[in-house]
Structures are given as structure tokens and as C-alpha cells.
């Protein structure tokens, strides 16, 4: 029991540090401060790796994953509450949560089952456009629209899975790349979907409660309407995280690992390679499409230029930077990669170049990423007493 308290204290301390960091990162304006903070965060992550303190936090969080997830959600909501007046900071926070959801989808495809997907932005776009069309032209409740967007992305993905299953490695990569480019070109030339100008998307309403109105807490405290979306996005990201983690620990995750590490050996052992690939690919695209739906409603406007091949590569960069296959790693990686260019105007223009160089360096010198995935723990309840 005492061990339990210690674990809880450990997680709370670590989360508090992360929350303070996130708050500062979103709040401060001075350019040099932002740069110093980002570099400091990277350094801390590199130093923590493998050190006693890092392992300790990790073990404490693993001891009761449910508590850790709930506490993380609370931490994010505290940060959101502290930033409740700033539209921009909340918008960034919600965006990061949505991209974490997308990257968790990619982690399942890429990190667990080993299916490459270079069309992440396209599936995100499918979610956005489905929402734009359904919310504007049907009376469906918005929560159903979000689910339908996820399902559409999964459905289109399940058509694409046919050629992917028949091919491997580079050939499969080509199929997703071709699809990503095809999708963006299609959007640009298609007048029904708004062409290059894009589409407007109505804001979210849930049981008559409009998300696009400021939240009155008391007479003098009013929060930005983005706080609604932060809550929704964080709930979405947390569900995606729990599903991803559960999958990883389960026998399904074991099958994914087998398929990724050696397809031939896996099929020799009677594992249906195709079945697991389909599951991973479809589930990942469902996450991506769902996140896209919320993103479209939040920003209120979508255009083909947000779903380019470059954006797909940024998604892949997040997954690689965080540590391929590590669901926790995508959170700091998404925060850094998405917020940094917005805060540090100097690099806004140079972000693609910087990220490209960053990923090249990571792949050359530290291919396992910032927070490498741990080996599967076959005895999760064993204590290192």
C-alpha cells in the first residue's frame, strides 16, 4: 500500500513538472525564452532516458496505468483552466491533443503492426471533409457526425488496404504516397468540395450546447470557447491512448509485434498476417478520421492545402521523434513540433526544413527516438523488489 502512495506521488510530481512546462511554453512570448524552454525540454528528455529518475517515473506510471491517464487528463485540464482567457493557447492545446490522437493511430499502424502510412494527412482530411459535408447538409447530431467521419476514413482505408496487403515494404509505401497525393489533387480540382478555396464547417453542438460560445463560469470569469474543444480533444486523445496501450499489452499487441518483426515467421506460427494488418490499419485510420472531424469543427474552415504530403511527413516526424511505437512519446513530440513553429516566429518559415534535418539526424544517430519504446514486459505485475 505504501508503495502505491509513493508511485502516486511520483507520477503527480512528474505531471506537475510537465504541466508547468506546458503552461510556460504556451504562455510566454519572448522569443529567446521559448527557444531556451524547447532546448531545455529536449535536453531533459535526453538526460532522463535510462536514468534512475526516469525509470522510476515510468515504473510508477506503469504500476497503475488508469490512475496515470486520469491524472494526466486532470493536469491538462488544470493547464487549460490556467490559460482560460487565451484563445490562441487553448487552440494550440486542443490541436496538440488532436494530433496526439492522429499520431497514436499512426503508432498502431507503423509502430505496432509495421504498416507504413505516408498518407496520414489524407486520412485526417477525409475526416475533415466528411464532417464538413455531413454537418452542413444533414441533420445528424454532431457526435454521430464525428463517429461517421472516423468510419469513413476507416472505410476508405479498408479499400486501400487491398493493394497494401498484396505488397510489401517499398511497394506498400508507394501506395500510400500515391494515395496521399491523389487525395490532395482530387480535392483541388473537385468543385463540389469547394476546390482550392475549401469549405466552411459549422461549430460543434452537443445536445443543444453550442461549443462556439464563450463559457461563463461566474459573472466576471469568462473562458474562451476553445476550452470546450480542449475538453473534447483531450477526452478523444485519452480514449485513443487507453485503447492503444491496452492493445499493446494484450495478445493482439503480441500478434502485431510478431507481424512487424517477421511476417514469414509469424505466418509459419499460424498468425493471420492479413487480419492483423487490416485491424491495425483500419483502427489507426479511424483515430485519424475522428480527430480530423473535431479539428474541422474547431477551426471552422478547411482547405486542401492543410492536407499535403509535407503534412503527412510532419505526422511521421512526430511518431519517429517520440520513439517509434512508444505511445507516451508522441505527446511531448507533438507538443514540441506543433507549438514551436507557432511560438517561435523565426522558425515558422523554416519549419519543414528544420524538421527534415532533425529527423535525418535522429535516424542517423538515435533511430529509436527521444523516448524509445521499451521491450515488452512479460510479467507486468512483477516488482523489482
Amino acid at each position: 500500500m505504501r508503495e502505491g502512495y509513493k508511485d502516486a506521488a511520483c507520477v503527480v510530481l512528474a505531471l506537475a513538472a510537465c504541466a508547468v512546462f506546458t503552461y510556460l511554453f504556451l504562455e510566454i512570448e519572448q522569443q529567446w525564452e521559448v527557444a531556451a524552454l524547447a532546448i531545455g525540454a529536449l535536453a531533459v528528455m535526453l538526460v532522463m532516458r535510462g536514468r534512475a529518475i526516469g525509470t522510476r517515473v515510468e515504473r510508477s506510471a506503469a504500476a497503475s496505468p488508469r490512475t496515470a491517464v486520469v491524472m494526466t487528463m486532470i493536469a491538462v485540464l488544470i493547464v487549460a483552466a490556467a490559460l482560460h482567457e487565451s484563445h490562441f493557447a487553448l487552440l494550440m492545446l486542443a490541436t496538440v491533443a488532436l494530433f496526439v490522437t492522429v499520431c497514436l493511430g499512426l503508432t498502431i499502424q507503423f509502430g505496432y503492426a509495421g504498416i507504413v502510412n505516408f498518407a496520414g494527412a489524407a486520412f485526417f482530411g477525409i475526416g475533415c471533409y466528411t464532417t464538413a459535408v455531413l454537418a452542413a447538409h444533414t441533420p445528424l447530431p454532431h457526435i454521430a457526425v464525428i463517429a461517421a467521419s472516423g468510419l469513413t476514413a476507416a472505410l476508405i482505408g479498408s479499400i486501400l488496404i487491398l493493394p497494401i496487403l498484396r505488397t510489401r515494404g517499398h511497394y506498400a509505401a508507394l501506395i500510400t504516397i500515391a494515395f496521399g497525393i491523389l487525395f490532395k489533387t482530387f480535392l483541388e480540382v473537385n468543385d463540389i468540395l469547394g476546390g482550392p478555396q475549401g469549405l466552411k464547417v459549422p461549430g460543434m453542438t452537443l445536445f443543444g450546447w453550442s461549443f462556439n460560445e464563450p463559457v461563463r463560469i461566474t459573472d466576471n470569469i469568462e473562458a474562451s470557447f476553445y476550452i470546450n474543444y480542449v475538453v473534447l480533444a483531450v477526452a478523444l486523445a485519452a480514449s485513443a491512448f487507453v485503447i492503444a496501450k491496452r492493445l499493446e499489452r494484450s495478445w493482439i499487441g503480441l500478434n502485431f509485434d510478431a507481424v512487424r518483426l517477421d511476417e514469414t515467421a509469424a505466418s509459419v506460427f499460424g498468425i493471420g498476417v492479413a487480419r492483423w494488418k487490416i485491424l491495425a490499419f483500419t483502427l489507426g485510420n479511424f483515430f485519424t478520421g475522428t480527430a480530423g472531424a473535431v479539428y474541422a469543427m474547431m477551426t471552422g474552415f478547411i482547405a486542401p492545402n492543410s492536407f499535403t504530403f509535407g503534412d503527412s511527413l510532419i505526422l511521421v516526424s512526430i511518431v519517429i521523434l517520440g520513439g517509434l511505437g512508444n505511445a507516451v512519446g508522441v505527446i511531448p513530440a507533438a507538443l514540441l513540433l506543433l507549438v514551436l513553429p507557432e511560438k517561435l516566429q523565426v522558425i515558422q518559415e523554416y519549419r519543414f526544413l528544420l524538421y527534415a534535418v532533425l529527423v535525418i539526424l535522429i535516424l542517423l544517430y538515435r533511430p529509436e527516438g527521444l523516448l524509445p519504446r521499451r521491450l515488452r514486459d512479460y510479467f507486468p505485475n512483477r516488482r523489482n523488489a
Binding site: 507504413v116 493493394p163 515494404g169 509505401a173 489533387t185 511527413l313 519543414f352 524538421y355 535525418i360
Partner: protein
Amino acid sequence: MDPGLAGQYLLNGLMLGVIYAMVAVGFTLFFGVLDVIKFSHGDVVMAGAFVGLATFIGLRDLGIVSSLALLLAVSTAALISMALLGALIARFLVLPLRTAPPLNTLLVTLMLGLALREAVRLFYPNGSNPKPFPRLLPAEAYSFGSFTLRLDSALLLATGLLAIVLVHLLINKTRLGLAIRAVAQDPETAKVMGIDFERVVMITFAIGSALAALAGITNGLYYNEINFGMGLLLGVIGFSAAVVGGLGNIYGAIIGGFLFAGLQTVGAVWFSVPAYKDVFAFAAVILLMAWKPTGLIAEKSAERV
């Protein structure tokens, strides 16, 4: 359809096909020696065209007006600089990752492509806008009814075909080509036979990248316009062509290049909105891959377990 117009479409398709085939041959060469996909290849095409353009502007400002001299200088500068770039990529990005999962090489070169693209956009003066590419070839036109043959198109077509034939001869008839084929077949044995593996790989990358530079110049001379983003689509098309033909096979790459150009031309004729031609061509490629997963001329593969 009017035969003159059909001929025009055919000529245009052939022109595209030659450019695509040159890019695809590069992909297939790299895949042959090292079993890797160098995805930055399309952006090397673009960089080659930009080096050519920069050389042209520099020499023009120095007062050189002879288009033949300019053309030679532009091509030489582009070919040599891209050959060097290719060798450097092989040395510092591709060879160090030889033992890593093949996906990492794909990713590194994808990111390198993005970096090249962005570098040109940001650092070439006014690089985010399309640039006019000079007409350096004689542009006399011969009319046969409604069909017009421009001399420069004919010259470009001939040069492209010649370059592919030369690379083919180089691979199949010379000692260097023998070394390349040996490395492609079995790197270990090739090393035992005294072939300098790293050098052969670097030379292969240099040859492929020089061919890419030629494709870039051809593209610039044909369309008289280049832009920083053209490499992405050309790279994906070249890769598709190489894959559809069957990776590692030089004939496959040529067939694939012309096939893709044919698909695009058919798409352009078929749909009233010409922009649908890419959608059509890529959809066709995805279907082709579903039908023939390892390309039309299948890569010889036996899996050792």
C-alpha cells in the same frame, strides 16, 4: 479524333515518357545495387534544373550569348553538381543506414527531399515562385497539317533516349557496369572478388543523379518553367514508374515511364478537367499494384527464412 491532334498528344506523351523513364532508371539503379529507395530523387531532378538555371543567369550576366555554349555549360554544371550530390547522399545518408531497417532509408531520403525542396524555396532568390527557364534550343517548327513538330522537342526526345541507351550500355558493356551488376547481385561475393563496394555504390548514385539532372534540364527546356515543388511529383511518378515496371530492372523502368506518361495522356484526353489526369494516373498505378504486386517485370525474389 483528328490525326494531327492525336499525333500531338502522342508526341507530348513520348516527351513525358522520356523524362519519367530517366527518373525511373535512377530509382531502379539505386534499388539494384543497394536495395534501397532514394526518395529524394525527384528533388535532385529539381535541384539539377535550378543549378542549370543559376548557371545560365550567371553566364548571361557575364555577357555570354551563344546558346550552344550556354546549353553546354548549363548541362555540364547541372550534371556534375548533381552527380556529386548523389555520391554525397550515398556516402553520408544511405551507406551508414545499410544495416538499419529499409524503412529508415526511405524516411531519411524522404526527409532529405523535403529539405532540398525547402532549401530551394527559402534560399534561392524569390524561390517560392515559378521561374522561367530559358529557351536554349532552336525552336523552328515544322507543320504537317494540324501536327506541328518543334525541333527542340525532337532534340530533347533524342537526347533523352540516347542518355538511357548510354546508361544501358554502361551497365552491360563496361568493366564498371560489370562491377555494378556484381554488387547488385551479391554484395558479399563482389567484395570478396576485390570490388570496392562503397565506391561502386557511390558511382552508381552519381550516375543516377546525373541522369536526374538531365531529366530536370529536359523538363525545364520543354516546359520553359521550373518551380521548387516539381520534384515531389516527378519523384513519385518516377518511383511509380520504376515500381510498376518492376524494381531493379532497367527495361521495367523504361516501360513504366512510358506507361505512366501514357496513362496521364489518356487521362488528359478522357476527362474534360485536365487536372484529373494525375488522379486518374495514380489511381491506375494503385490498381496495377494490386494486380501485379511486384511490377510488370517481377523482381526475382526468393525468401530465405
